[in-house]
């Protein structure tokens, strides 16, 4: 006696270049998984954490007046997926998930929390059968002196 729906799972065994595997919490409390591949853009956002000027007694030997106190550095990772509309419906939920994690180790399974950038997104037209979704994740900040 069947007690759940028959869930069809697509099996994707193709070779992936530059894979980024993420899992996220959906609104019903379940966990979703997706593998982004091919094109990713890495960027970084940095901010100045303040600087100070020191007293220079001998300008001929001084290395400069300005010294930095600290910096903020937040790596960004943009991923894209060109997929069927039925997958877009699931994939776009990543944009408003409260917990997204990126796989960093397979054995044992290890995750790192990442944060989809917030904003408004144009995802697809109703006429399309395939669409491209691009998501930018903020990765964990780099720990810096200061």
């Amino acid at each position: 006696m069947r007690v759940t729906e028959k869930k069809t799972i697509k099996v994707d065994g193709s070779c992936k270049s530059s894979p980024v595997y993420v899992s996220w919490l959906n609104v019903y409390g379940g966990r979703e998984h997706w593998l982004f591949d091919k094109i990713q853009t890495k960027s970084i956002v940095t901010q100045n954490g303040g600087s100070y000027e020191s007293y220079v007694s001998n300008i001929t030997t001084s290395r400069g007046f300005r010294n930095e106190i600290t910096k903020v550095a937040r790596p960004l990772l943009s991923v894209t997926a060109m997929v069927d509309i039925e997958d877009i419906e699931g994939l776009k939920t990543i944009l408003y998930s409260v917990n997204v994690e990126m796989l960093v180790s397979q054995n044992p399974v290890k995750w790192q929390t990442i944060f989809p950038q917030v904003g408004s997104f144009r995802i697809n037209d109703t006429k399309q059968t395939k669409a491209t979704i691009e998501i930018t994740f903020e990765l964990a900040d780099i720990n810096i002196q200061g």
Binding site: M1, R2, V3, K6, K10, V11, Y28, G29, L103
Partner: protein, 357 residues
């Protein structure tokens, strides 16, 4: 006496779904009923109520509340004889064609209801999260919402190690039990436990079926299209990467061995293989992760996966207990308010309203 007159469990496809999204209201309505009125009639210029109990703290001159399903009337006690409570004649009192009860609003000073909220941990032990104290309204009713306390048990991160066919995820939901008691004057009643209910770390959307209830995601033997907790129409399994499907391993499957069925298909939809594996029954009554069999031949392009009951009764039916309290079936809180019928006193004179039975 405290009665649960409404809980958020609802019937879905013929079975009681006791699973709720924890980020939305999980509310129970309780009612205080101090004494049932078993008789109500006119004697001279008085109305007499016969009650099933009348504590000595109730005195003449105090106000009591006569509560019926539609109206609450505040009455001043004229005198008391045994179990008879006498008030001034009011013809309106005799036109009420419903059964009622009396709350001693003056005599029971500082009356409140205390609700203990406990969750069920990994070892099936009942562990207290916190208590909620509420006052009752003029109908003796009080609404207790417990989601804020239960929410503290949820953790959004992915704790599954992808090393078992199915595994309960305590951070994604679990069972909970409420214990109710009332207190007034110096009296504190004993706690009365509720059934076990369950919560999941989710929320429902506007106009979805079943409201604030996870009903459509709760597998039950009477309906075969209960959903997995996935927003994808057809999720993708990327070979070699950790994959799981989330589902509610519900209390409604308790007595049967549950199996994971898989049917793998090739590129043209032709069936390649069917497999059946037993899932772990000890993981039930929680939100679970289900893993696929994996290691498919490269010809497999899609597969159908579902859960099935083998129909075989298992030995772990209703034997596990939550900190001394049994699972569904052995204890039940009242779901509908049970008004005790008021009767005509034999040999009573004159004016008497017929009470609907």
């Amino acid at each position: 006496m405290i009665t649960v007159i409404q809980d958020p469990a609802i019937l879905v496809n013929g079975r009681m779904s006791k699973w709720f999204p924890v980020h939305q209201p999980i509310s129970f309505t309780l009612q205080r009923r101090d004494a049932n009125s078993t008789q109500r009639y006119k004697v001279g210029n008085e109305i007499h109520f016969k009650l099933d109990q009348l504590p000595s703290s109730v005195k003449a001159g105090q106000t009591v509340a006569y509560v019926t399903p539609s109206v609450t009337i505040n009455l001043v006690v004229k005198s008391i004889t045994g179990l008879y409570l006498k008030v001034a004649f009011d013809p309106y009192l005799l036109t009420i064609n419903a059964k009622g009860f009396i709350n001693f609003t003056d005599a029971f000073i500082g009356h409140y209801i205390e609700t203990k909220v406990s969750y069920i941990d990994a070892t099936l032990t009942k562990i207290l999260i916190g208590t909620v104290k509420t006052k009752t309204d003029s109908f003796g009713k009080s609404k207790v919402s417990v989601q804020e306390l239960l929410k503290t048990r949820c953790d959004n991160s992915n704790q599954f190690l992808y090393n078992a066919i199915n595994k309960k995820q305590l951070n994604e939901g679990s069972g909970f039990i409420l214990d109710f008691r009332e207190a007034f004057n110096t009296f504190v009643s004993a706690y009365v436990p509720s059934n076990s209910f369950y919560f999941a770390n989710g929320s429902k959307q506007l106009q979805e079926p079943n409201g604030y209830n996870m009903g459509e995601f709760v597998p039950k033997l009477t309906f075969s299209e209960n959903k997995f907790l996935s927003v994808f129409k057809r999720p993708t399994y990327f070979v070699g990467y950790p994959f799981s499907l989330s589902f509610i391993y519900s209390d409604l499957l308790s007595n049967f061995q549950i199996q994971r069925k898989e049917q793998t298909k090739g590129i043209n939809g032709a069936v390649i293989a069917n497999t059946t594996y037993n899932i772990f029954g000890a993981e039930r009554n929680n939100v679970n992760r289900l893993m696929l069999k994996q290691s498919y031949p490269s010809t497999v392009k899609t597969l159908d996966v579902w859960l099935e009951s083998s129909g075989i009764q298992t030995t772990w039916n209703r034997t596990d207990r939550y900190g001394g309290y049994a699972e569904e079936g052995t204890f039940r809180t009242l779901r509908t308010f049970d008004y005790v019928a008021e009767e005509k006193r034999p040999g009573n004179d004159a004016f008497f309203t017929r009470i609907r039975s």
